[in-house]
Assembly symmetry: C2
Homo-oligomer: 183 residues x 2
């Protein structure tokens, strides 16, 4: 009896080990798919931010040098790009949700594999977790940089708009004087 | 550009959905393996407890009717059975650890599947969770019943041992009196 019992218990344990390996494998696949999606969407978001920054700068540099119609068409493009940035950010958030699920699943799968005695699956999963986290950290840093640059551009725009408005005011104040003087 | 971007984003999402289904599938397999192992080990534990209860009852009923050598051999069997019960309980605890991991993995996998848009995988996983939990609950109830019965047997044994010791004392007190009276 003890022998057959031991064989039976070994078989339970080997089935659990196998199933635990499968969970770790699929959690790793899920992590790599969600990491790819998140990295890609963060990259697209950064690109969209940089396009918006370039448009805002073009608008600033053209201030007072273009007709109101030209100004309006630049604004239409800027507004369109802001929508694009918002859509890209929504996508990032959606993929980030999936990615966080994948992170938690992998953490649990690594724990389960370890306690089921499948140490290699546990170790592989933990190292994949680290790689995924550092990959996402890198692209997230780039998108944060782009967000910071956009904020700087906006500050600059406010300053320039204020300076431009001042100049315009001075110009319109000057006009009647000059007009009067010439008159 | 918007069309190709949409196709790309669809492909990320479909890959995530597929990977999320795989995680749910493997988590379900892991849950069913660990549930089987836990149910089996709890059943074996209950059986071992019932064997121990039967041995203790046999010992109680034979109190004062058997030789010290026979008593000793019953005690050897009881001690062996107590070790068996302890081993079975250890096995239950080990499998319970795996099972708890499986429960958490399935809960997370169901959540991940739901948020990835694979609702059927999420629903299947949640219903499997309920089935597994009720299966384990049932056998756990049986093992708790067996534990309660063993505790009752022990109380009964203490009472009988005390009664037997009292009777023995009275017998040994009676002997000298009888001896004195006859003398």
């Amino acid at each position: 009896v003890p022998f057959s019992q031991q064989v039976e218990s070994l078989s339970h344990e080997s089935l659990i080990r196998r199933a635990s390996s499968l969970v770790a494998d699929s959690a790793n696949t899920y992590l790599s798919q969600t990491t790819l999606a998140l990295v890609d969407s963060l990259t697209q978001y950064s690109k969209a931010l940089h396009t918006l920054i370039a448009l805002q700068k073009r608008y600033m540099n053209s201030m007072g040098k273009i007709t109101p119609a030209e100004e309006d068409s630049i604004w239409q493009v800027i507004i369109g790009q802001r929508v694009e940035v918002g859509d890209r950010l929504d996508e990032c958030k959606r993929f980030e949700g999936n990615w966080m699920n994948a992170i938690h699943l992998c953490e649990l799968a690594a724990e389960a594999a370890y306690s089921a005695g499948v140490e290699h699956a546990s170790t592989t999963t933990r190292s994949n977790l680290q790689v995924a986290q550092s990959q996402v950290e890198q692209v997230r840093k780039l998108s944060l940089d782009a967000e910071r640059k956009l904020a700087e551009t906006k500050v600059e725009e406010i300053k320039r708009t204020a300076a431009f408005a001042n100049a315009m005011e001075r110009m319109t104040e000057d006009i009647p004087e000059a007009y009067l003087r010439e008159d």
